[in-house]
């Protein structure tokens, strides 16, 4: 995928000032090469998640343009819904529907959005469930699953519709280190298999390992951006250096 972003602006009502707005993305510019994995890093509140929501087709920016492989994102809700059906998104938590079992969560988009029969859908998810060693949990409700299992099922749900790419918004930040590792391993495996994704994470070691390119987002802009190795080795921007230096070397 080649991502081109020009002049992207997003504003939200400012909770601190009634009637005022806060600018979360401030004329953000970002042009990537033809890559498979882009990782967005940076301080909390810098605009990473807001950017990801726009890329995933969940929010419409106030101004600016976004294009994947030369195709601009639609701006109307019907067009965006069509777009969302071609990609997969995983949030920090509460992805799964608690009244459905893991299996029913996986089947829901296949049956109700992509028009498969329940039998076809069940056939479609069997392989991926086995591949990620989750068959034993298929009949469980989310409340009976661990945090790591929930996130892996959520990633699987995004994956079984065969999306063009995945958007992952801090998928491990609500998990303990052991569960994080199991989810990161799954993402790493997908990376090896050629799945394209854009990931927001604070796991800098992991970012460095899987990213083709890393963009450092702060104050609503892409402050620094480049191939992972270059950014870690050669970035001179002081704020980025400080951020990266907190991370132990691999």
């Amino acid at each position: 995928m080649k991502l081109v972003i020009h002049g992207l602006v997003q504003r939200f009502p400012d909770p601190g000032r009634p009637g005022g707005t806060a600018t979360v993305l401030d004329h953000l510019e970002l042009v990537t090469g033809d890559i498979r994995a882009l990782v967005l890093v940076g301080p909390s509140g810098g605009g990473k998640s807001t950017l990801l929501r726009i890329l995933a087709g969940l929010d419409v920016p106030a101004a600016g343009s976004v294009a994947f492989d030369g195709v601009p994102l639609p701006r109307d809700e019907a067009g965006l819904r069509g777009y969302r059906r071609t990609v997969g998104t995983v949030f920090q938590a509460y992805n799964l529907f608690p009244h459905l079992t893991a299996m029913e969560n996986l089947l829901l988009p296949l049956v109700h959005v992509h028009g498969l029969t329940p039998a076809e859908a069940a056939e479609r998810v069997r392989g991926p469930l086995a591949r990620f060693r989750l068959e034993a949990h298929a009949h469980k409700r989310p409340a009976e699953l661990s945090g790591g299992q929930k996130q892996r099922i959520a990633i699987l749900r995004a994956l079984v519709v065969q999306p063009r790419r995945l958007f992952l918004d801090e998928p491990t930040s609500a998990l303990d280190p052991e569960m994080s590792a199991e989810v990161l391993d799954m993402i790493g495996e997908l990376r090896e298999a050629g799945t394209q994704f854009i990931l927001v994470t604070h796991e800098m070691g992991f970012a460095r390992r899987v990213a083709d390119e890393i963009a450092f987002i702060a104050d609503g802009r892409a402050v620094a951006h480049g191939p992972a190795a270059e950014l870690f080795a050669g970035c001179t921007e002081p704020r980025v250096r400080r951020f990266l230096e907190r991370i132990p070397a691999p």
């Binding site: 995933a56 969940l58 819904r81 069509g82 969302r84 059906r85 997969g88 998104t89 949030f91 938590a93 509460y94 992805n95 799964l96 529907f97 608690p98 009244h99 829901l108 988009p109 109700h112 959005v113 409700r141 989310p142 409340a143 009976e144 699953l145 929930k150 749900r157 995004a158 519709v161």
Partner: protein, 245 residues
């Protein structure tokens, strides 16, 4: 102690206590006089069942529409629903019935008092339903709506497949309580001369001067409706039960 035994013990103690109280008052029972009017009781009870059932279904529909309006992005729709809810909840049903029947229904030449009675009762109960439903919808985390949108569901699919199944479980106990109230509130329809259970019991009392014999069957008749409703609600709660994740 098993639950059925606990229930039996409590009910037995209650019956014994009430029986003791009745035994101590010097009261000349006249069941024979009231028995004459058994068909009148039955007719009134059936009217109460019919009126309550119609108002119950209508109040759920009204409450659902008003709840959606309360959450609507249209300021006008939200304001209309808010005024409706506050006006109805803030005034006595008695006044609403009298104005509804003698003013509003008369003005639009709606003469069937049963239709008016059901409508007023449904509007009354619908205002409470609206707040219950709104609370249920508000309790669904934002992330659930985001997840539903992210997999490509339409707003209607998201409501039907994701929001409602979770909201139903949340609102069920409150809705059941509101329905029990509605059945008992239907007794006020007697003020616009609807021949329901309470009015008929009052009439039997005035014919026979047997107050307790007229009103005790009334209590039992209402319990015969409300207890199964509570039981149904508890059964549904168990069916919809899942632990929140």
């Amino acid at each position: 102690m098993p639950r059925w035994l606990a229930h039996t013990v409590v009910v037995a103690l209650l019956v014994a206590g009430v029986a003791l109280a009745f035994a101590r008052v010097d009261y000349a029972w006249n069941w024979a006089g009231v028995w004459e009017y058994r068909w009148k009781f039955l007719q009134g009870w059936l009217t109460t069942v019919g009126v309550s059932l119609a108002a119950l279904l209508a109040s759920i529909a009204i409450g659902a529409v008003a709840a959606l309006m309360l959450r609507s992005r249209s300021a006008l729709a939200a304001a209309a629903a808010r005024v409706y809810v506050e006006l109805i909840r803030g005034t006595p049903l008695l006044v609403q019935l009298l104005i509804g029947f003698y003013v509003v229904a008369a003005a639009v030449r709606l003469e069937d008092r049963y239709v008016v009675g059901v409508l007023v009762l449904a509007l009354f109960s619908g205002a409470y339903m609206a707040e219950i439903f709104r609370g249920g919808l508000d309790a669904i985390p934002r992330a659930q709506i985001d997840s539903a949108r992210s997999i490509g569901l339409t707003p209607w699919q998201s409501l039907r497949l994701v929001v409602l199944p979770q909201a139903v479980r949340i609102v069920l106990p409150s809705v059941a309580g509101q329905l029990v109230s509605l059945i008992k509130d239907s007794s006020l329809l007697s003020v616009i001369a609807i021949s329901e259970f309470t009015l008929n019991a009052q009439e039997v009392n005035s014919f026979t001067y047997s107050t307790l014999e007229s009103y005790l069957p009334l209590a039992i008749g209402y319990l015969a409706l409300t207890l199964p409703l509570s039981a149904l609600s508890r059964w549904l709660e168990r069916r919809f039960k899942y632990e929140a994740a």
